[in-house]
Structures are given as C-alpha cells and as structure tokens.
C-alpha cells in the first residue's frame, strides 16, 4: 500500500491521478449490480445500483497513517478546521501515527476522521467514497445471501451492535464478519462515511414532518417482526443526518469503492 502510494506520488505528484495506475484487486471485492428498496430517498421504489468494487475492510489506522505521511496537510495538528473538527484523530497520540496504542490499533478501523479527510484518502487511492445506496446495498448481505433483508437473525446482529457501547479498543478489521461478497465489517464494527451522507436529511426532530415517521408506523403496523429491519437501517440514516462534513466521531470510519468502468480502464 505504502509503496503504491509512493509510486503514485513520485510519478504524478498529486493524488487525483493515481487512478490511472494498475491496482491490485486483492483488497477489493466485487459487488454485482442490482436493485433494492432503500429506506429513504426513493419513496419506496426500488433503485438500481451499478456494479462496483468495494474495499474488503474499512481503512485502518496504519493505512491512514501512511496517507498522512504522504499528505502532511492531513496530519492531526496541520488539518484545517474547515475540513475537520477539534476531535480529528483524537485517538492518536502522535501527529502522524497512532502513537502509543499502535500495537492495539494499527489494524483497527481508523475513526475520528471527517468526510473531507475520508474523501481525500479515497481519491488518493484512485477510488471514491460509496454512495448511501451503494453502501446500503452492500450491507444487505449476510454471510450466505446477497440480500438478507428477510432474515430476522441477521438484523438482530445489527440491533445488538447498535445498543452496545463502543469498546475501548476497536478490534482489527479482519476479526469482523465476512459477508456474501467477501466484504468484512459492514455491520458490527464502525459507522461509515458515504459520499452523499447528508442527502437524506432527517431533521433532528424525528417524529414530525419527515416522511420517516410515516414509513415507520406503516411498517410497524403491517408486519411485526420483519419490521425490525427498517429499524436497523433507520438508525444508520439517523446517524448520517446528525453529521456535518467536518465532524469527526469516535466510531465513524470509512472505506472506499471503485467503479467497475475505472477498473476496466486501469486494467488496460
């Protein structure tokens, strides 16, 4: 990873061009395109998602440290307040790496990063942040099924995670659950940034005029147990809409995706 960055840096000098390099798909998983009904933003209609490649793991502290080393403006103390709030990389004791908890955290997801930072990181990899729909689509998968939306047990896993406090040290990314696509930790590890996180703005008052409430009550009235699934996605949408692009949160990380088209170009 570092070598790749280094190469990109040497050759092109800027991150934006890194896309053209040959990338190893070993740490990416293919998500086949399809349709699904998102909780918000489509008025209950199915939307189609183009196929894409997604990072198998959320970005780790070690990977982010490498990025920061190459791009000093994203160092803990150098970052502009406009792009990241005061808690940026709060869990790092050093300016450019994890510091004293490195043994525990190197391989854990990086958190306390802003949307701007996450976006810059992905661009440096020749990738981009996933959209909400892409992220939600990939997160529908259980270990064995691409779409586990009818599987109550699968959703209970999320519910359990959401109601537990953050662990002192986040576990390494490999220790999380691997889904149908071979992607790890979509559920049960960290919240994740999406490119359009604020496009489904729920207002803070989550009961009144948002369409949200109606959906919840309709669903709740209709089917009892299977409604649990709405609740789970509901929490992710609520979390996203509490954010601003310069916010950093102790349990919010990210991963990147790549368009299949770009992938094809890169392969040429």
């Amino acid at each position: 990873m570092i070598r790749r960055l280094l190469t990109a840096f040497l050759i092109f000098g800027t991150c934006g061009m890194a896309m053209a390099q040959k990338s190893t798909p070993a740490n990416l998983a293919q998500v086949k395109g399809g349709t699904f009904v998102p909780l918000y933003g489509s008025n209950g209609k199915a939307v189609s998602v183009q196929g894409f490649r997604m990072d198998k793991y959320p970005v780790t502290n070690a990977e982010y440290a490498a990025f920061v080393t190459k791009n000093p403006k994203w160092k803990k103390h150098a970052v502009k307040k406009l792009f990241a709030d005061a808690n940026y990389l709060r869990h790092w004791t050093s300016d450019s790496n994890v510091g004293k908890n490195a043994d525990k955290l190197s391989n854990s997801p990086v958190v306390n990063v802003s949307w701007f930072a996450a976006k810059a990181y992905c661009e440096c990899q020749g990738k981009r942040l996933p959209s909400i729909n892409e992220w939600e689509y990939a997160a529908l998968a259980s270990e064995t099924k691409a779409n586990a939306s009818k599987d109550a047990k699968f959703y209970q896993r999320s519910l359990d995670w959401y109601s537990q406090p953050n662990p002192k040290y986040l576990p390494p990314v490999q220790q999380s659950f691997r889904n149908y696509y071979g992607i790890y930790g979509m559920i049960g590890l960290v919240w994740e940034w999406t490119s359009d996180f604020n496009s489904n703005m729920l207002i803070g008052e989550s009961r009144a005029n948002s369409s949200l409430d109606r959906q919840l009550f309709c669903g709740a009235g209709a089917t009892g147990a299977s409604d649990v699934q709405n609740y789970v996605a509901f929490m992710r949408y609520a979390f996203r809409s509490s954010l601003k692009a310069n916010y950093t949160v102790g349990n919010l990380g990210f991963r990147c995706v790549q368009d299949v088209k770009n992938q094809a170009i890169a392969k040429k």
Partner: protein, 491 residues
Amino acid sequence: MKMSTLSKVVQLTAIGIYSLGLLASCSSQATTADNKASTEEALAKELPVIQAELTDAPKVPAPITRKHAAKVVVKLEVSEVVKKMADGVDYTFWTFGGSVPGKFIRIRQNDEVEFHLMNHPDSKNPHNIDLHAVTGPGGGAASTFTAPGHETIFNFKALNPGLYVYHCATAPVGMHIANGMYGLILVEPEEGLPKVDKEYYIMQGDFYTKGAFGAPGLQPFDMEKALDENPSYVVFNGSVGSLTGDKALTAKVGETVRLFVGNGGPNLISSFHVIGEIFDNVYTEGGTKVHSNVQTTLVPAGGSAITEFKADVPGNYVLVDHSIFRAFNKGALGMIKVEGGENKRLYSGQIDDRIYQPEGSTVQEMPQSATPKAMVASNKNMRIELGKTLYAQNCQACHQAEGQGMKGAFPPLAKSDFLNSDLNRAIGVVAHGLEGQIKVNGEVYNSTMPKLKLTDEEIANVITYVVNNWGNKGGEVTLDQVKKAKATYKH
C-alpha cells in the same frame, strides 16, 4: 393552547420585524411586537445567571427561594452505559446524565434557560432532547440533534409551570426511550410550591429484553416485545430494587412527603399507588389542578403527577404500579420507610389472630383429579433446589425472602438458635404447626404457625434448603429423619 400561543408569537414577531425594521438584527427571542418586547429584551439581558443544580433520582434539587426570574444554565450530558437492571441482569442504558431516569432539573416559571446538550464521544448514536416544558418546535429536539462528541445549545423561556417529562426524540424514537432516555423537569410556579418536609423523584419505565424477567447476563433490546408492548421489566428509577432495602425512601411520622412521579414509558401507563397511604393532594398529570384524597393516580407515558401525603403511621409503605402483576412480577416496586411513634388510634396493628376452623371443612378434591407426581430428590443439592421453591410458596410470606422474619411477629430462620439447636423439633413444627410462646435469638414470639400440608419428602427438602442458607449450620434432612421426628415430636 400552546399551539395557538406559538402561532400568535410567530405572527406578532413577523409583524414586529416588518413594522420596526430595526428588530431584524435582534435575537430571535423577541416575543411580542409592542413596547413590552423591548422592555423584556432589556430585562432578559440583566437576568442573573445561575448554574442549574441537577440531581439523580430519588434526590430532588432544593426548592427555589428566589423571587425573580433568572437565566438558568443547564448542562446535560448524554452517555450510553452498561448498568444493572436486576440482580445478575445488565442492560445498556442510554442516559441523560449517566443513569435512568435522567437528571432532575428544577427551574422557576419565566426563567430563561440556556440548555447545553453534550453527547459523549464514546456514544454510538446521535441524540437530542425534547423537553415537554418547552414551547417551541419539537420541544427543543429540532435544535439539539447532537452527533457523538458534540454539544448543542439552545435557549427557551419556561412559560408554563408544571412537572414535565423530557426525553430523547432521535430516530428511532421508540428505541431511544425504551433504553432509558427520559427524565423530569419541574417548572415551579412563580409563587413556589407549598413547603413540605421531604421531596423525592420517582420515574417509571418499561424495558424490553431478549431474555425473560430475571434471565441473567447483558440483555439486548428486543424490538418485537417493544412493538407488542409486552415488557420484560417495569421498574421505578431504572432497575429492580432501586427503591427497596437500603435504598428505600425515608420519612418520619408527622412529616409531609412530596413525590415527583414521572412515567417515561415508552408504552405503559402507570396506575401509581402507595400501599397504605392516601394522597392528600395530587397535582393531576403534573399540572396546576389539585385533587384531594386520591388512592391511585394515573401517570401517562410521557406524563407526570405530583403527589403529597402526610406520614401519619410508622411502617413500610410500598410504592407500586397498581397494574399489579407489574409490581410483583416485573419489578415496579418501591418502598418508603416511615419511622416514629405509633398512634394506635390511627392504626392499631394486629390485635388478635385466632384459629378459624369452620365445622366440617375438609379439603375437597375433584373426582378424577390426578396430582402430578412431585419430583423426588436424589441428593442434597437437589433437595436444596426443590426446597427453595417450596420455601417461596409456603414460608416466605412470613419468614421473608432471606429468612430474616419480622421482628415481633414471625421468628427469623436465618442464624436461628431455635432452629439450629434441634432440627427434629423443626420438622415437628413444620409437620404439626406450633402455637404459643417461644424464644428465638433472644426475642420472644407468641404467635401461631399453621400446620403445613406438605409431604415428608417436601418437609425434608424445605428444611434442607433452610439449614443450608443464611448462615445456618448446613447438612441434609433425610426422609427417614422426617418420619422419625414427626412421630416423636408432637406437641
């Protein structure tokens, strides 16, 4: 009423801005367009600033003695914590201030409140607050949507006096409330509340866990049970036993007691009752109207009541949700211990307890009823296990859960010299009953123990259970021993 006031305020503010023009640069606190607006504005700037005293249940901040409005700064921190729900049962509570219910906030009518909501960086979820004492969109929820590691601030003026619930209103609202995100804010009327001797804060809530009541371990939230409104726990102040034993509320005979009672829900309505007391006054639903001489008062989910009574007679008074299975099977129990001198004219205590045996009353059995065979213990541990249930069914009502008995009425079994010195006699007492004076651990008891309709096997089990608990001498009582003791020990 609030709605119409609100729209009026909005209209007037709009007119004010239009006609004066200059006001456009004023803060949004301008409430009316006439001259009063500017005077109020001026006054608002001069209000003394006070940091609110916040308390955890069952404590209540001191009554407000000042005779003027103030700017009150309230700082409330949201945190997600693992705490005890019942013995051996943990739950991840989402809290306003570290415990359930949230901190008690006490302000005065017409105070202006600067409200800070901090969401701890370790929180997993965004949170906000809807204070029912607020007149404004979402009761503040719209202004306080706070990501983990952030703080939001808004101002409001406490227009209406009363006891109000506050709670989190972040999606999914039901789950946030079900995890304990509620508390009470008291807006004292300008003239204050009448003086009382004791004030306490009690808040009921229902909880939905994967496991049934008492199932041990860290229990996750159960969405299905919540939708079915079928709670595993209904408790006062966030856990089973939060107001019993050492944590019972206290008062002295002659004191007046005021309970600030809230109900966070999310689902159930409480039929709040204190066994053995009559509320002299109830501020129904936490409002201004006072009802007198009330036995049980309804506390709606997301509502409150203020109840007052004078402690006249010493003893233990049990607080319940009188939807009574919740009290005895789901945890909605609390206690007030009233200490002081007795007044036999108000309450005599038991004067006499006589054996009542109507003629010809034998236990009737239905013709073909086959009693299921009782389990037979094959070893000591099994005896203890089976004995435990028998104890709960037959003995506990008098001798109490920990064998401690009740001084003056029911002798203790825990560390009892009477029991431990002669187990055969104990077998006899269980088998044949006992009447008359005995001395246990230095105390004289003169009452009646009825003959219990237990089999020899059951007697062996229950006594084995008793002697192996509460500091008693241990050992096993066998079937043979019971048979012999029954025959030899008759009184």
